[in-house]
Amino acid sequence: MKKILIVDDDPIIRNLLEQILEPFAEKDIEILIAENGLVALDIIKEKQPELIFLDVMMPKMNGFEVCQKIKNNPTDKIPYIIMLTAKGQETDKEKAKASGADCYITKPFNINDLLNKVSEILQVNLN
């Protein structure tokens, strides 16, 4: 079973993403939730999700650090990471790239774009 992990400290955004990704949940894809980077790393170790939505601005450990940790972790499966940030600054894009993120989406995002992207990555046809 494929898994998607949502990492965000904001419960509303977590909720939103969960609802957006509902069509995938209906297709037997597990949606996992983590409210911070440390929890996320534990979940990743345990569940090894295929796709991770990673917020940048988080307390304790920011998205870049989490991303770096994931990418440097020699687990057998390396997940696809989509960074989510409110900041549209060039430096953030560069940082995201440098920390190993595969994709970078600025809030607020377009739901259809997001859904298309996910189905492309997970090879799941929603229609």
Partner: protein, 629 residues
């Protein structure tokens, strides 16, 4: 003794000597002739007298009588000797003591017919005038009378001496009188000379005591009045000069006070960039003493960037140059350099130096940084709820459209109307959400542009690629409105060095504007190479912009049309951002438009100099004026 007198005295003495000697000689000569004549006639008389009275005695051969007679005549002054010879030339008697000189033998045999005078020289005795008188026509003998010529010479000598002495005495006396006279004339002249000397030393108060009414007195009076006039003139000038000096000192003190009390640091260099003046504020800014600056090259203290703006401002009178500079205690200053040019100097000549103002902008920088931080925080804080609003609205819309509305099976008109309204309202929420997102993005962009906080990437960009990417990004808009896009792009456009994303941003902005304001017709995108730049234009056949609006479209929060009555469909920041980006690269952006017929937006990007867009900003005076307004 006056110099004048000394000079003339030598001449006078020489002249006097010539005259005195001439007179003495001529007198001596006359005296000599007179005495000679007198001696001759005296001698002749004596000789004749002896001759006439001695005839008998001679005939009697009475020598002693003759001797007595001649001895008597010897007492007469001038007579030196007398001797008598008989007809045979034998000396009968004579007055020679003790012996007859040898030279007598030469003349004792002379037998003149009449009285005869001749000169004879006796060795050891001198020159004599010998007068021979025959006795009884020479039959009885001859009488010789010798007159001493040296007597004459002695007399002449003494006479001449006396005369010279007398003349000399008269001369000395006259000299003394002349000296006194000259002195009397030269004394006031000397006094006047001294007076004039004092005048040249600007001593106008010294008295001159000449009261005579001759020319010298007149001269003295003239000089006195001249001195008074001069004194007045000098006084007036001195006063004027003093006034001017005081005024100058005041002005200088004023200027110095102004410069010294300036809050900004002031620094002046000569044309070689050597520091000639700094004010206390500047010394304080760098925590150095004034003496640490003066005479040093500004490059050695402030670095290359600073020296560069100084150099540029010296050679360029039209522009001023700015740069940031590190101050003491990690503070930041902004240096503004202006060339100092005299009005008379031609613009292409080098000026006389540069004046640099340095302002501590640490707090401004801090405020700026805080502003930027604030904006990014705000934008972050806005984006997160906006994401939720937008996201949930979309989900609601999806759920309504997918699950709710299809299952509403009622004929209640009210319900059906509500469904239409809800659909409408949700779409409005979504489009306004989009607009809010765009606005936040634009505000963030413009605040970064204005704060200079954009990291401009420098990469080789093919203009055609940038245009193509912008067209792809806006293709959805064209499809929505079913508008055709006509491309007319020169295939041989040269590469430019700039930030590709920014250029794409500009083109997207212009293209989406064109679509937004055009309902029918087409949009045309052209690109061509000009002499030293690339010209891109985007034309539409839309509503167009009125003349009055045209000047304002590049201003912030300005859109064509009335924002109160027309429904705003953009952020009002797009063109302002475009202008900032294009001007950053030294290009220009402008619009040509006719109301109702469409608009064409143009922008140029220079091919050269894009590399030059460094942190040394060039500001023209016009721009500064704008800034201050």
């Amino acid at each position: 003794m006056s110099k004048l007198f000394k000079k003339t005295l030598i001449m006078i003495v020489i002249l006097f000597m010539i005259i005195a000697f001439t007179i003495a000689i001529s007198t001596g000569w006359n005296l000599y002739n007179d005495l000679l004549q007198e001696y001759k006639s005296k001698g002749t008389a004596i000789a004749k007298s002896i001759a006439s009275s001695s005839i008998e005695t001679l005939l009697n051969r009475d020598a002693s009588t003759i001797q007595a007679m001649i001895d008597r005549f010897l007492e007469i002054s001038g007579v030196s000797y007398i001797f008598v010879v008989d007809a045979n030339g034998e000396i009968i008697s004579h007055t020679f003591v003790p012996t007859i000189p040898e030279e007598i033998s030469k003349i004792k045999n002379d037998k003149p017919k009449d009285t005869y005078v001749k000169e004879i020289v006796f060795e050891n005795m001198g020159i004599f005038i010998d007068i021979t008188s025959p006795i009884l026509e020479g039959i009885a003998g001859y009488v010789h009378v010798g007159m001493d010529k040296s007597n004459i010479i002695a007399q002449i000598k003494s006479a001449m001496l006396r005369q010279l002495l007398l003349i000399s005495l008269i001369f000395i006396f006259s000299i003394i009188i002349a000296y006194m006279l000259v002195n009397k004339v030269s004394q006031p002249l000397n006094a006047l000379t001294d007076y004039a000397k004092k005048l040249t030393l600007h001593d106008f108060s010294s008295p001159v005591d000449i009261k005579s009414d001759d020319e010298i007195g007149l001269l003295a009076n003239t000089m006195k009045s001249m001195a008074t006039d001069l004194h007045e003139v000098f006084d007036r000038y001195e006063q004027a000069i003093n006034d001017a000096i005081v005024e100058l000192q005041n002005t200088l003190a004023y200027l110095t006070a102004v410069i010294d009390n300036m809050a900004d640091g002031l620094l002046v260099t000569d044309t070689d960039g050597v520091i000639t003046h700094v004010n206390p504020a500047l010394s304080h800014m760098f925590n150095m003493r004034e003496s640490d600056f003066i005479g040093r090259d500004c490059r050695s203290i402030f670095g290359d960037k600073f020296a560069e703006i100084v150099e540029k401002s010296i050679t360029n009178s039209e522009e001023i140059f700015t740069t940031e500079i590190e101050l003491a205690q990690k503070r930041i200053g902004k240096a503004v350099a202006t060339g100092i040019h005299k009005d008379t100097i031609q613009s292409d000549e080098k000026g006389i130096g540069a004046v640099i103002l340095i302002r501590d902008i640490t707090s401004e920088k801090e405020v700026d940084r805080m502003k930027t931080d604030f904006i990014s925080t705000v934008s972050h804080e806005l984006r997160t709820p906006l994401t939720a609003v937008k996201g949930f609205t979309e989900i609601i819309k999806k759920r309504l459209e997918d699950d709710i509305f299809p299952n509403v099976t009622t004929d209640n008109k009210r319900v059906l109307k509500s469904i239409l309204r809800i659909r409408d309202n949700i779409n409005i929420i979504l489009s306004e959400g989009e607009r809010l997102t765009a606005l936040i993005n634009d505000v963030l962009d413009i605040s970064k542009l204005e704060a200079g906080r954009i990291d401009w990437k420098l990469e080789n960009v093919r203009p055609a690629d940038a245009i193509e990417q912008a067209i792809i990004a806006t293709s959805a808009l064209f499809e929505q409105k079913k508008l055709p896009l006509i491309k007319d792009i020169d295939e041989n456009l040269p590469e430019i060095i700039c930030d590709k994303d920014r250029i794409i941003q500009v083109i997207i902005n212009l293209l989406s504007n064109a679509v937004k304001f055009t309902d029918s017709g087409s949009v045309t995108c052209r690109a061509q190479k000009l002499e030293d730049s690339i010209l891109v234009s985007i034309s539409d056949t839309g509503t167009g912009i009125s003349e009055t609006e045209k000047d304002h479209v590049f201003e912030k929060f300005r859109q064509a049309g009335d924002t109160l009555t027309d429904k705003p469909t953009g952020t009002g920041l797009g063109l302002s951002i475009c202008r900032q980006i294009i001007e950053h690269y030294g290009g220009t952006i402008w619009v040509e438009s006719e109301l109702g017929k469409g608009s064409t937006f143009y922008f140029t990007l220079p091919l050269k100099n894009i590399n030059d867009v460094s942190d040394i900003s060039k500001i023209t005076y016009n721009n500064i004026e704008k800034e201050y307004k």
